[in-house]
């Protein structure tokens, strides 16, 4: 699992970091984004919808995204 630590960063930085690192994951692999900005809970799933990736879920400040394309 690729972990992208964005704790303390404000939006849109966590989404930018996710977009930069998703290519490092193979198809079917998961990227875990650590983010405590309140907008991340909204914007990471929205990014997945817009970019055709799978939002797996979140637990507190950890958001998991599976690369599917």
């Amino acid at each position: 699992v690729i972990v992208v630590d964005c704790l303390g960063q404000r939006c849109p930085l966590p989404v930018i970091a996710l977009a930069r690192r998703i290519g490092d994951a193979g198809i079917g692999e998961v990227v875990r984004v650590l983010a405590d900005d309140p907008a991340a809970a909204n914007d990471i799933p929205a990014w997945c919808r817009m970019k055709g990736q799978e939002f797996v879920g979140f637990d507190g400040t950890a958001f998991e995204v599976r690369r599917v394309s």
Binding site: C11, P12, D37, A39, N42, D43, A46, W47, M50
Partner: protein, 384 residues
């Protein structure tokens, strides 16, 4: 760096529309008699009273209600607070629950918070879909639950423009015996509001009236109880002296705006269509949000991936465009807009463009020409 040389183009009518020329004329004319207290019995007071009566009658006619159902308040926000808290207080025997959509204006949510804190009341938020439209099944269940005192629904989203199913929501409320309050601030003067509601509020500076005038309508048969100190508990009264010249200007401009609304709606809706289509085509990784058809004629919102909303507002301002944003970085709370959150759409890089009677086609085209470059510059700086 100021790259803008010409006149600024104001595209934030949903915050405050530029003053309608009729408002200016009426305001100046009303200064002559509008300084006096309309409640006094001497001649000057009676003259002021006649101005207020005429303003109330004209407003009632524009809204299709009775004159004695209309009150003026010192702002749209104070009208909202009076409607929510007074509507709840009037129904205390029925219950203490406020049902509201998740996309109400923050003034409604703040009133709900106060209701919870001071009246041991509670508030139930009803969700919306991805386009920002009320979930009617959830609304039906929430309104029919025991102990519901009042239901609150915005006529159309002030952030994304999606028109809400007011007529159906009102029917559901009527079946449950719950009064419906409609916050119509973004619709009045622009688009019709279906009947069936018990309380309605509006704000003059959204239709081209002056700032500092709110309108509260309480339909006959609706129990309303003053939530603040005053000598008339059962009838909404302004807190302190009204700005009577502004009230007169508000009433006159409402009549003018209502008269122009149908033609303006056609003109502005076409410009909004152009914005929706062009933004989607010329800005990569953008999400144009809100219902493309069932929407306010003058308002459009989109979000740009990887873009800081505040940076984009400043960039557009440097190019001479005034727009607003629901992104968290532009909010005092540093939280994303609760409306965009409830819809589940992208909240960063968010821009709301709202047009008015002074907006020209060329203004929109200039904006559309500048936007892609402004977005690209910010993305480049962020390394995207």
């Amino acid at each position: 760096m100021d790259v803008h040389a010409g006149k600024a183009t104001y595209l934030d009518a949903a915050t405050a529309a530029p003053l309608h020329p009729v408002a200016r004329e009426a305001f100046l004319a009303a200064l002559e008699d509008g300084w006096a207290d309309p409640d006094r019995l001497y001649t000057a007071g009676r003259r002021a009273g006649r101005l207020l009566d005429a303003a109330r009658a004209a407003t009632a006619e524009s809204l299709g209600v009775r004159a004695d159902e209309v009150s003026f308040t010192p702002s749209g926000t104070s009208a909202v607070h009076a409607a929510v808290l007074g509507g709840l207080a009037g129904r205390r025997r029925a219950g203490r629950t406020l049902v509201h959509s998740a996309i109400e204006h923050s003034a409604v949510l703040h009133a709900a918070t106060q209701h919870a804190a001071t009246q041991h009341g509670d508030a139930v938020a009803v969700g919306v879909d991805l386009l920002g439209r009320l979930d009617l099944d959830e609304w039906r269940r929430a309104v029919a639950a025991p102990g519901v005192a009042l239901a609150s629904l915005i006529s159309a989203s002030h952030e994304v423009g999606t028109v809400q199913p007011v007529a159906t929501a009102a029917r559901v409320c009527a079946e449950a015996g719950v009064p419906l309050y409609v916050d119509a601030a973004q619709s009045i003067g622009h688009a019709p509001v279906p009947p069936g509601w018990s309380l309605l509020t509006a704000s003059a500076h959204k239709w081209g009236g002056p700032p500092g005038v709110g309108v509260l309508v309480v339909r006959k048969g609706t129990r309303w109880l003053a939530p603040y100190p005053g000598d008339d508990l059962y009838r909404p009264r302004p807190q302190g002296a009204l700005d009577l010249p502004a009230v007169v200007a508000a009433a006159a401009s409402l009549r003018a705006a209502t008269g122009e609304a149908a033609a303006e709606a056609v003109r502005l809706a076409a410009l909004v269509d152009r914005i929706r289509a062009t933004v989607a085509a010329t800005v990569p990784d953008v999400e144009v949000v809100g219902d493309p058809v069932e929407r306010l004629p003058h308002l459009v919102t989109f979000s740009c991936l990887y873009v800081d909303g505040e940076a984009l507002l400043h960039a557009l301002d440097r190019h001479g465009f005034a727009v607003s944003s629901g992104s968290s970085c532009t909010a005092s709370t540093l939280r994303p807009s609760h409306v965009l959150e409830a819809m589940g759409v992208l909240s960063h890089g968010n821009v709301r463009v709202s047009l008015h009677r002074g907006t020209k086609e060329a203004d929109v085209d200039r904006f559309l020409a500048v936007l892609p470059g402004a977005v690209a510059d910010i993305r480049k700086e962020a390394g995207m």
